[in-house]
């Protein structure tokens, strides 16, 4: 699809247009404590584009930490169910980081697997995702090893690449194309390709990823469910689940019924994590994942073996939030490197 341009002034006007028309605009913005969150913004000045990873990933916009599924009430001898809306008003995400947008797309597969998750897809369909190329990779990032990169378009409808005075606009999806068509007057002509190439090259740089491409890791995991490695690499894991909370692809949830008085209540869906002991605790008291290293193995297996086997793609976009968030100093890139070394060792050797 055709590339376009947009100046900072036109982008500011576009945000103002959208908000005036009643379209919510969410962008990375500073919270009271100075850190970035995806928040509603009223003006472009409130957004921080290309300023790094927001605290929670984009997944929280599509799978909120808590959401009602329906409410119930006693109605005579019966129970009446009040459903929740599954269609949502139009919404624009401006300034998604590419690894977050990729995470949302990866999750589409599981959300449309054994049933179609109406709330997830209701929000997905209502939302246009405008990514901004990333200029803030640090030593925890490994997007390149997962097929991403600072200018990756996976999951984005439009990608903005910085140019002098504004951005090149890469149109990625038909939804992105339609968005540009509706706001045609805000967009300029095609960018100078040499300028875009220079900007991309600057962002990509000559960085060496901390992890090599992960196919050998996936292959090793397939037949190393039992391996001494697991007990070794997970000793410092507290099982706190901070990694899953900040992860753009961890999507497990718990379902609870919350009574609100005697006659009515709400069924809610809340984030959960396989890193918690209670996640697999049976009513009998038996826990098939009794030890923390087994729970950690589950997290690695799901992302790099189970999901690829079922859906053909990794459940990790290399954003590095898990390493940054871990109070125990666990580092997923290091674990993946260790596995890659085992995978490369001759059979019967150190592995």
């Amino acid at each position: 699809m055709n590339a376009r341009t947009i100046t900072h002034a036109q982008l500011a006007a576009l945000v103002t247009d959208l908000v005036a028309a009643g379209t919510a605009v969410t962008a990375p913005a500073r919270a009271a404590d100075g850190r970035l969150d995806y928040r509603h913004v009223a003006r472009l000045e409130d957004a921080v584009l290309g300023g790094g990873l927001p605290r929670l990933s984009l997944k929280a916009l599509f799978l909120p930490p808590t959401e009602p599924l329906f409410s119930f009430r006693l109605s005579g001898p019966d129970v009446a169910i009040d459903s929740v809306p599954t269609s949502f008003p139009p919404h624009v995400v401006l300034g998604a980081v590419p690894c977050d947008a990729a995470g949302v797309q990866a999750l589409d597969k599981v959300m449309d697997w054994d049933y179609r998750d109406e709330l997830w897809f209701g929000r997905r369909e209502a939302t246009t995702i405008v990514s901004v190329a990333c200029s803030s990779r640090d030593e925890a990032c490994f997007c390149g090893a997962t097929g991403g990169g600072p200018t990756a378009t996976r999951g984005a409808d439009l990608l903005l690449v910085p140019l002098e005075g504004g951005f090149a606009v890469e149109v990625v999806t038909p939804k992105g194309e339609a968005f540009v068509a509706v706001h045609e007057e805000r967009f300029g002509s095609a960018p100078n390709e040499a300028d875009v190439a220079r900007s991309r090259a600057t962002l990509t740089g000559s960085r060496v990823e901390p992890v090599a491409p992960l196919a050998p890791v996936t292959a090793w995991l397939a037949d190393h469910f039992e391996d001494p490695l697991w007990a070794d690499v997970a000793l410092r894991c507290h099982g706190c689940g901070a990694c899953a909370s900040v992860c753009p692809t961890c999507h497990c949830f718990d379902i609870v019924d919350e009574p609100e008085g005697v006659t009515h209540g709400t069924r809610r869906r809340n984030w959960d994590t396989c890193q918690a002991g209670r996640f697999t605790l049976h009513a009998s008291g038996h826990n098939p994942r009794a030890d923390q290293h087994v729970r950690f193995r589950q997290r690695v297996m799901h992302k790099f073996s189970i999901y690829p086997a079922r859906f053909g793609e990794l459940l990790c976009t290399g954003c590095g939030r898990c390493s940054r968030a871990c109070p125990g100093g666990m580092d997923l890139p290091e674990v993946l490197r260790t596995i890659a070394e085992r995978a490369a060792a001759p059979a019967g050797g150190a592995a």
């Binding site: 404590d33 605290r55 901070a242 809610r268 209670r278 923390q292 125990g328 100093g329």
Partner: protein, 290 residues
Amino acid sequence: MRELRDLAAKLLSEGTVQVVIGWEDGPRGVRPAFVTDPAAARNLVFDERCTQNLVPYLSPRRAHVAKLGRPAVVVKGCDARAVAGLVRETQLKREDVVVIGVRCGGVVADPSSLEALSPATVADRCPGCTAREPHLADHVVGELPPPPPAESRRDARIAELEAMAPQARWTFWQEELGRCVRCHACREACPMCFCERCVADKTQPQWVESSPHPRGNFAWHVTRALHQAGRCIDCGECERACPVGIPLGLLNRKLAQVASEQFGHVPTDDPAVPSPVGAFKKDDPQEFIL
């Protein structure tokens, strides 16, 4: 550092312990280390980056660590209070662990930080520290470094919050606690949250709603803070573990101030000193009881 490494190697090679829990350099600053081979004791470090409290790894909930065998743990003075807490509350027998104390001049808030210890980078608990030399230790190693920066940002922040109108303070906590996603990382990383089944995980009845809506979040955070009153040893692990940056240390510190004012209790590494909730005295103040 040499003294620490030599001691760890000796304890391992003579079979006194099977694992030394200390700190090592990792890919992102220092991190907890579990040394089982005497030769690997040379990887142990202690410096101003070693902010992590390692005592949570002694909690009975860490079965995967317990499997390594009898542990030695390296503690700063503040961390030693967690050992005392576990002994005081019968979660750990003192003789089941070898405690290696390190003399401390303060640590940075972020163990992955490359910045030196300064008033801007120091952990909230360090200013005014009175526990720079651990008492509850079988061995104490290292020279006593100069004291940490003196000014406490946290106490100043608490004073600011207390000076706010109630509505403004409420708004502040609504914003902060509103971010909570109820992962309970604060609990899992805490040395004193050792309950096999936390009240927040009980469902019959459901005392605390598990949903991260304002009602559930306030119920959880008030419960957590009150269960720590007079028990919190102020290591800051809860706040450091929080993936959304909730300033839990403000709540812990405020309750510690109350425990000090009302009961004369200050966190200590003497396990014989009871915590206010663990002891009854006839002259306990009760004017706050309705």
